[in-house]
Symmetry: C2
Subunit: 246 residues, 2 copies
Amino acid sequence: MKRVMLVVAYDGTGYHGWQAQPGHTTIEGVLNEKLSALLQEEITVIGASRTDAGVHSYGNVAVFDTNTRIPAEKLSYALNQRLPGDIVVQRSCEVAPDFHPRHCESRKTYEYRIWNSTFPMPARRLDTFFYHRPLDLEAMQRAAELLVGEYDFKSFCAAGTAVKTTVRRIYSLSVEQQKELITIRVCGNGFLYNMVRILAGTLIQVGSGERRPEELADILAAKDRSAAGPTAPAHGLTMIGIKFSS
Amino acid sequence: MKRVMLVVAYDGTGYHGWQAQPGHTTIEGVLNEKLSALLQEEITVIGASRTDAGVHSYGNVAVFDTNTRIPAEKLSYALNQRLPGDIVVQRSCEVAPDFHPRHCESRKTYEYRIWNSTFPMPARRLDTFFYHRPLDLEAMQRAAELLVGEYDFKSFCAAGTAVKTTVRRIYSLSVEQQKELITIRVCGNGFLYNMVRILAGTLIQVGSGERRPEELADILAAKDRSAAGPTAPAHGLTMIGIKFSS
């Protein structure tokens, strides 16, 4: 028996998110099905980030246990032969038998992409959120700076979520623009439910002038979901990758 | 009667290219149909770049004549209400009655995007060409430099194409890399049939070591399609925009 780690990229457009659900096509469900067929044993993957419907991934992580003799590094090639084109394993390797992608220290990076123009851009309509009002990049950057560090992010957590603690650390949070494309990139030791999308929705309010950058400090202090901005739509969000502490 | 110019963006994935063809869904066909319904008169657009099936656009140009009283600038809004999500008019304005987007001097810009990694990236599988062998960016850049200027690009024109002259001017041709994404960006006064895709296919051969950068001079001198590399796949190509000389 060995534990194998997969780095899983997907276009989330056609899926009801990561988590297996009866009657819905999910990333986890497809991986379980294709791995079980490939390895001829019942496989259940454990995902690092259980992304919502419509969210994309360049480098989500999943682990599973298997008795196969196929070397872990070769599994990506064999599995990609069976997977649909919108799910592609980027890498596979063996990990320690007790490695759990949600119960160990890690740095997760997400990008939230905004297409900021008068009209949407068709070729980017599935991986960016179209927003037509002009956004003040500098104001968004000043607001973003106030969120870097260890804070109680309760205001940025979907209401009604049960977690032990809402304290998280953001290592970096940048807002960059390339013509019409604005990219919010955030790296942290973990994110609460909908946290990145609420951060994005709040930074968009700052960019459009609805809020001042300085208000971010008050929003954090409120520890109340209703103090922050709306949850930005899922399809603008991409899970970029995860680094685990060794 | 006035002549209106549209800047047309599209995701080419679902279309048999620009040009109207019986029995196929094309960009031109959809524009003609939706404009005719909107304006209650028979409309026929003239396109600047008749892109192939699968090619995308951020800023292709079309013109048409109409008797409507709707101001030209407002037509984009009205038309986008009727267009599907994968075709969006970015701008509309009135132009001179004799303005023809293919019979006047212009600078066209295209991008050819390559996803250069071991495995394809699902969220970018429709607007980049996946190529798994490592590419030498510097070699591609040196080769690209040799194509800037006015030359007979006959070697880079699909065989059997009837044109008066195969001489074209390339104003700039850059090859840039952002992690796995390599972007070839070319600006010229016009492009022969399949020219950008053959340029891309040849530069990929240089990047992979199959050809030396210096060979580009010999390929130009040969004036023979078989001297150049293969035609890179359509879905990696995006028509970025057109600037007309006033």
